[in-house]
Structure formats: structure tokens, C-alpha cells
Symmetry: C2
Subunit: 221 residues, 2 copies
């Protein structure tokens, strides 16, 4: 019976996700679901992206947290299109929460929507939100063994970001080991290394974003 | 109906946790449930503790991961009493998994049992395993806002460890802010700052362990 309920929850989630997907398609919004451990730098990545692109594109942000508006307040300095979702303890966003949040955003005017998921490498992976891409953000300080210890998020993500590369020298992080393990789990997946602090590598991420916005805008839906 | 099932799961968990607690009591084992984000340093903390105390006490380790034996292999260099639990995707240990793992350890011969939970600041909090103390390990690289963003684990833990303090200079971590927020959530809770890398502050943790082993051994159960 428990299994049946889990299946029902996922089925229910999927139908909402499909509605979100349709809304993103119709409005040609590039929707990105960003996953990471707590403190890996999701909010910093979004702020850096806003700084670089806010004069060129309209960017919306959905902030997912179990409680508080701590990150949303930081992001409000860069865009007015921020919606906070407090999950009330739940360890991941679901498509229904995102659907509700979308009613507070004017999708017609948005080019990119960052969905910052709850800081958690495990639970959010199973809940499709209707996004174009699931992106995992790892950070050097967490160690090079994260793909070994948390395979599903690396298997399912369409892009892997490695943040805090300014910390390479101070850590015993082996980039080769990390890349090898990521590639074993998700052959050919693109990995972009960057530092939100020093700005190194950020241009590659910005290029990725611009290419993907272009694709989204030109797609015949 | 879903709520009822969740309640049943927690009730079922609690009865196993009580059995574990009784086993720890009977054998005067100090059992510690260690929670953190991925990569905060749980395994390093356990290895440092083994290095400092393995000639004085018998130390057992239960390693919780969604998959792999990566950490257990590292720990095996320091103690033979290691049991790996692979949760098969689940985001936390539960008392029943720990109960099964205990059948593979000789509790009569163990003084301290480290239970390294799955790397996750949210889900493990609700699953009591029968431990003496729940300990949260935060790390400087995650930022000083973790208590604001993940309150329950800081509210419920009996001890807060702050790891990677050798990174203070390179981060904008405010120790005052962190301590203030922790104290608001859990007034009076002890916080020990340390670096598993440089060894700074480790003695305070070792003292805490030795005091608590002493208490456990002299407790009339």
C-alpha cells in the first residue's frame, strides 16, 4: 500500500509538472531546476548570473527552502521577479508548489527562470518540476567523491557545474577523479568548472545559458 | 490516509529505536548519530577520533550511504568494527536499519559507536535511532546561514560541531552570526569549533567524547 501511495504521489506530481512544462513552452521560458548540497553556492550562482545578464534578459527566480526568506531577500536586490516557496519541512520542491509559484510571476515577460531547489542532493532528484534542465552544482569543498556517494543526481542532471574552483589548491580534490566518476554515471554530460567568488569560468556558464535561451526561443513548440 | 501512514512509519521506527537504545544501555555503549550536509566532514571527524582514541577505547562505526562502500573502506584502515548500511536511495537511516547493523557488531566490546548518517541536513532529523546524542556537523565552507536555512537539525541536536575552521580567513563566514542563530534555535547548546585538517580544536571534541563515555559507563541503567 505504501508503494501504491508513493506511485500516486509521483503520478500527481507528473501531471502538475506537465502543466508547468506547457507554460514554460508557451512562453518560451528557459526553466532550470538547480540542485546541490546546502552551501554549495546555488544562490551565489544565481546572483552572478543576474549580474551578468539582467540587462539583456528578464530573469525570474523561484527560491525553495524549508523555511525563511533569507536567500530570496538577497536575490531581490537584483530582480523583482522572485517568489519564495517554503516547503514547511519537506526536503524537496514538487511540481504543485512550483505551479502555485508561477501564478505570482508574469511568465510572458520572463526569459530565464531559475528554480533553486532545497539544499539536498537526494530527494529533489525524483520530483520533475517541468523544467528544461536539471542542473547539479557540486563544490570543491565537498570533496571529489560526491558522484560516488550520490549517484542519482549526477545520472539525471543535464549539466554538471563544479563551483569553488578557487579552492583547488587548498583541497585534495582530484578533478580527474571527479570527472571520471561523473562520466561513468552520465557519459558525455557537460561539466563546467567555475568560481562564483573569483569569476573564473563564469563565462562558460553564461555562454551555456545564452545558447540554451536561443534554442528555447527558436524551438517550434 | 497518507498522514496515518507517516505516523505508522514513525511509530514503527520508534519501537526499533527503543530496542537499539536498550542494547546501547545494557552494553554501556555511547552511541552518536552524526548528521551533516554532504562533504562537511563526518568521515574525517570519525577518522580523527579513531586516530586519537583507538588505543584507549573500542570504537565501532556504522556507515550510512545511499550506495557505495567508499567511506567504510577508508574507516576500515582504523577499525575492524565497521558496518556499511546502503539505504538503496533512501535519504536517511532508520532505526530498523541500525538494528540490523547491530547484529554484525559485538556491542559488549564497544565503548563508542559512531553512526554516520546519510549526508542530508533535513530528512535524518525525524528518525531517532536510539542514540545517546544527535550531533550536527556544520562546516565553514557551507556559509554561516545554515542555522537560518535548516533550523530543525540545529534545534534537535545535543551538540553542534563547526568544522573546517582553517577556512575562516578565506571565507566571509561570521562566527558571531552563526553562534547567535544556533543559540536562538537551541539556547545553551554547546558548540565546538574545529578543523579535522589542521587538528585545531580537536582536543575539545575528544574531551567531550571522553566525558560522555565516562558518564555512560557510570550511569546506573
Amino acid at each position: 500500500m505504501e508503494v501504491e501511495i508513493v506511485e500516486n504521489v509521483l503520478k500527481y506530481n507528473k501531471s502538475h509538472a506537465e502543466e508547468n512544462k506547457e507554460a514554460f513552452s508557451k512562453n518560451k521560458v528557459l526553466a532550470l531546476n538547480i540542485l546541490s548540497s546546502p552551501g554549495a553556492g546555488k544562490t551565489s550562482l544565481i546572483i552572478q548570473s543576474l549580474k551578468k545578464l539582467k540587462n539583456k534578459y528578464n530573469i525570474g527566480v523561484i527560491e525553495g527552502d524549508i523555511s525563511s526568506t533569507h536567500d530570496a531577500n538577497k536575490i531581490k536586490e537584483y530582480t523583482e521577479s522572485v517568489v519564495q516557496i517554503n516547503t514547511g519541512g519537506s526536503c524537496h520542491l514538487n511540481a504543485s508548489m512550483v505551479k502555485n509559484a508561477l501564478t505570482k510571476l508574469n511568465l510572458e515577460d520572463i526569459d530565464i527562470l531559475f528554480i533553486e531547489n532545497v539544499g539536498n542532493l537526494i530527494c529533489p532528484v525524483n520530483f520533475y518540476l517541468g523544467e528544461d534542465d536539471m542542473i547539479v552544482l557540486a563544490s570543491v569543498n565537498e570533496g571529489d567523491d560526491k558522484p560516488v556517494k550520490y549517484p542519482p543526481v549526477f545520472i539525471k542532471s543535464n549539466l554538471v557545474l563544479l563551483n569553488k574552483i578557487d579552492m583547488f589548491e587548498l583541497s585534495n580534490f582530484s578533478k580527474d577523479f571527479f570527472l571520471e566518476k561523473v562520466d561513468q554515471l552520465n557519459p558525455g554530460v557537460e561539466v563546467i568548472s567555475l568560481s562564483c567568488k573569483t569569476g573564473e569560468g563564469l563565462d562558460n556558464w553564461i555562454n551555456w545559458l545564452e545558447e540554451n535561451i536561443k534554442l528555447k526561443k527558436t524551438n517550434i513548440t
